[in-house]
């Protein structure tokens, strides 16, 4: 045992040629899961910044009634690409970024099972995303159909811009990228776990990614098929969605949401997994109810395939009680997770560096997203809220208040692992507070606007009592969010200018990635601790402390 207690001596990363500045060719040709993960992350953050700027333009336009900055066509393009980019070019690839970097490390493997497929997946995603954005270069502008792309409005007589075709083709490429990536994650998790790592000793992030990857394999083929049908309809004379030729526009909505609702969980479950990593570390306790957490993850994954038509309550084409019921039920396993996180804190010794601040912030903001989710899951209430700012506020409350808060927790948590350096703590905390205040100020007023009946996807709105005030507030909040992102970028640059000094395990953490160097060497591990629980690095640390004290009298 004592041999295992030594932390590995720091060595120069094997893949960084001495004296080389930026190893450009090495990055372009890489099949290393860590480099692919980092490229995924940087590209996703790039799309996040672009889509964020689009959001700022929209919020500036909406601050007061009337059209000031953009035309109606321009506005339609902005919210289409904003939604598409945030969902499919930022959130989904950000999941792939964490998964690529962390899964092999967390299961104690040297790399993914299919490294070349992994590289292909990244490049398909990057160029697919660029194809979507290239709509801004077309004379008639980008896709103007909303990220949901409902036909007939997205078919050729009604959406004439080539940008819509670029949107379809770009999303087809990124969809294939997601499917290939998910395949790789599943195979890696099933076949590359280190000796001793049974399924119920896997870190909860890896568990969440296993369920997420299976969801991707079910959900993305539906959107791939739907996009191909839409392309055939627009350019090759198909009539899938044209009622006058025997087609049905609602068919698209079924296919889209059969993908689209699992997609919400595809970008939520992995970040719930991140929360399952941070709360234990910063409470210095194991995750409360590990098995219940895993079972809840599996249940949410399976159940998320049954709720798609709650996006279609107002179509009159679905069974309302059935889809209300399935949507309500999914609140139960999500509630289980909430109590897992809170009871991990109870009885612990908490400390609050930036990753824990983000985790607690997640708990508060995501709760409101979850609760408003139960409201809109009730079909009669949805009749009022559907397609209003209430739904806009709800979905941002879930996706930003949930996934993105947890993403920042993950980025600040694993930043020392990715780079070998800790983020400057005051800057990281300023990022958190600015973001959180901006988030609340932006989206809280939108609940009220929606309850009053302000529809989404309106470039302009009437000066009804209270509407202008709340829109001004929302716009101010959005610029506060933008300021917080600037602080984050400053913190990253500041950290990267310092020498690597974080050490392998700066947070006294639990899972195997904290055994490797920071950043890990080319094939990750030179040794592994024994894996006898879900917290092998914790076990090794405790064993080392006992050995140091010369006995087991202090066993906790």
């Amino acid at each position: 045992m004592t041999t295992l207690t030594d932390t590995p001596p720091p060595v120069a990363a094997a893949h960084a040629p001495a004296g080389a500045g930026l190893d450009l060719l090495g990055w372009l040709a890489t099949t290393d899961h860590k480099r692919i993960g980092i490229m995924y992350g940087i590209a996703a953050l790039g799309f996040f910044l672009a889509a964020g700027v689009m959001a700022l333009v929209m919020r500036a336009e909406l601050a007061v009634p009337g059209l000031q900055l953009v035309t109606e066509q321009g506005y339609n393009g902005l919210f289409t690409i904003h939604g598409t980019a945030m969902m499919l070019l930022f959130a989904t690839p950000m999941v792939a970024a964490f998964a690529n970097y962390l899964i092999p490390l967390q299961v104690g493997a040297a790399d993914m099972v299919y490294p070349r497929l992994n590289a292909l997946s990244f490049w398909l995603f990057l160029f697919g995303g660029l194809v979507v954005l290239s709509g801004f270069l077309v004379a008639s502008g980008p896709a103007d159909i909303g990220w949901t792309g409902y036909p007939p409005n997205s078919t050729l007589p009604y959406s004439t811009t080539t940008g819509t075709d670029l949107w379809i083709v770009g999303l087809l490429l990124t969809g294939v990228a997601s499917i290939l990536g998910a395949l790789n994650f599943v195979v890696t998790i099933f076949t590359r776990r280190a000796p001793g790592m049974s399924m119920f000793r896997m870190p909860v992030f890896t568990w969440s990614m296993l369920v997420t990857s299976i969801l991707i394999l079910y959900a993305f083929p539906a959107i791939t098929a739907a996009l191909i049908m839409l392309l055939l309809e627009r350019r090759f004379g198909a009539e899938f969605f044209n009622p006058s030729a025997g087609g049905d526009p609602v068919l698209w909505q079924h296919l889209f949401w059969f993908f689209g609702h699992p997609e919400v969980y595809i970008i939520a479950l992995p970040f719930f997994g991140v929360m399952g990593e941070t709360f234990p570390v910063f409470s210095r306790k194991p995750l409360f109810g590990y098995r219940a957490f895993v079972l809840a993850t599996i249940f949410i994954g399976a159940y998320s395939m049954t709720v798609w038509a709650h996006h279609m309550f107002t179509t009159g084409a679905i069974n309302l009680p059935f889809f209300s019921a399935t949507s309500f039920i999914i609140a139960v396993p999500t509630g289980v997770k909430f109590f897992n996180w809170i009871f991990t804190m109870i009885g612990g010794k908490l400390w609050f560096p930036a990753p824990m601040l983000w985790s607690v912030g997640f708990l508060f903001t995501f709760l409101f997203g979850g609760i408003t989710g139960v409201l809109v899951a009730s079909a009669p209430l949805d009749f009022q809220f559907q397609d209003t700012y209430f739904v806009v506020a709800h979905l941002h409350n879930v996706l930003v208040g949930g996934s993105v808060f947890a993403m920042w927790a993950g980025i600040t948590f694993w930043f020392p692992k990715f780079t070998g350096r800790r983020l400057n703590e005051p800057l990281a905390q300023a990022h958190f507070w600015l973001w959180t205040i901006g988030f609340v100020v932006t989206f809280l007023p939108q609940y009220q606007l929606g309850a009053w009946g302000m529809p989404r996807r309106y470039a302009d709105y009437p000066a009804a009592p209270g509407w202008t005030e709340l829109n001004v507030v929302s716009t101010i909040g959005s610029f506060c969010i933008a300021a917080s992102v600037v602080v984050f970028l400053v913190a990253v640059v500041e950290a990267l200018r310092r020498p690597r000094d974080a050490g392998p395990d700066p947070w006294q953490a639990n899972s195997l990635e904290w055994w490797a160097d920071s950043p890990p060497a080319h094939h990750n591990f030179r040794s592994l601790p024994p894996i006898r629980s879900a917290r092998p690095v914790f076990d090794a640390r405790v064993a080392a402390r006992e050995a140091q004290r010369g006995g087991a009298e202090d066993r906790p």
């Binding site: 179509t315 109870i346 529809p455």
Partner: protein, 279 residues
């Protein structure tokens, strides 16, 4: 509203916190049911939020580690009783919420099946609405703002059969607390009973293209006698049903009516959208 923008913003923020989630006052029987359901949901939501946030705040305040304290807290891995409890209680709660939901849905369906004294066929098109009273030979049609008027008698069940002409639109009256999609190739039915006379602004709620925000309409609820007068005055004035090209002018001259209460009444008919629907 002549205050300075800064004060307006602060006032707006205070307003947002104070009232976040308040519905407009409902004016239909169905809307009142939705408002009651919403009240119940909000109450339960508040209870859930108090319990969950209370526990979280308790944990954060009570269990802060002291700096330099190197001892581990007790390594508790779980508690099956607790876990059963917080699975079971939410499960029972949502079954209750589901029952309440289904009761309201059933009442909506009953209204559609019940006798209706007024039948209206609603058609949404880019970018306006057509309201046809098939039993009375009245057609109201309007493009852009202020849009056409849908006259209904107060206190009577009105049944709407709706479709879309080109793309999907949605018929939404905020004070009805209700919307429904107008889908090409589909016929959707719903029914409502307006309880209070008045003018209620409505709007398209399903994104339908460039002028999506410029196709409002107004529901005008009047006593039966006034409704009959209106029907008589508009019979035959209507544009021919055979004419597919919508005209920019509503068929009826605007009545002298009480002040509109919906937000969309205040839209000024400044820029009229183009009515071309072909590419």
């Amino acid at each position: 509203m002549s205050r300075r923008p800064g004060w307006r913003a602060i006032g707006g923020l205070a307003l947002g916190f104070a009232v976040a989630g308040c519905l407009p006052a409902p004016v239909t029987s169905q809307g009142r049911e939705v408002a009651r359901l919403y009240g119940t949901f909000l109450l339960i939501a508040a209870l859930v939020a108090i319990v969950v946030l209370g526990l979280a705040i308790f944990a954060i305040l009570r269990y802060r580690g002291a700096p330099g304290d190197d001892e581990l807290p007790p390594q508790v891995h779980g508690n099956l009783k607790f876990e059963a409890l917080w699975t079971g209680i939410p499960l029972v709660t949502i079954v209750g919420l589901l029952v309440l939901t289904v009761l309201v849905l059933n009442s909506f369906n009953d209204a559609v099946r019940a006798n209706a004294s007024v039948e209206v066929r609603v058609t949404g098109f880019r970018w306006g609405w057509r309201f046809v009273y098939p039993n009375d030979g009245v057609v109201m049609e309007g493009i852009g703002a202020p849009g056409p008027e849908l006259y209904v008698p107060v206190g009577e069940n009105v049944r709407v059969t709706m479709t879309g002409e080109d793309v999907i639109h949605a018929f939404y009256v905020p004070q009805f607390l209700f919307k429904k999609d107008a889908i090409p190739g589909h016929e959707n039915q719903f029914a409502f009973t307006v309880d209070e006379a008045g003018r209620y602004g409505g709007q398209c709620a399903e994104f339908c293209g460039i002028y999506h925000s410029r196709m409002p309409f107004t529901v005008v609820a009047v006593p039966r006698a006034e409704y009959d007068e209106w029907l008589a005055a508009n019979r035959g004035l209507a544009p021919s049903l055979a004419t597919p090209e919508p005209s920019l002018v509503t068929a009826a001259p605007t009545q002298l009516a009480p002040e509109a209460t919906g937000p969309y009444e205040s839209v000024e008919p400044t820029v009229q959208p183009s009515v071309t629907t072909s590419p």
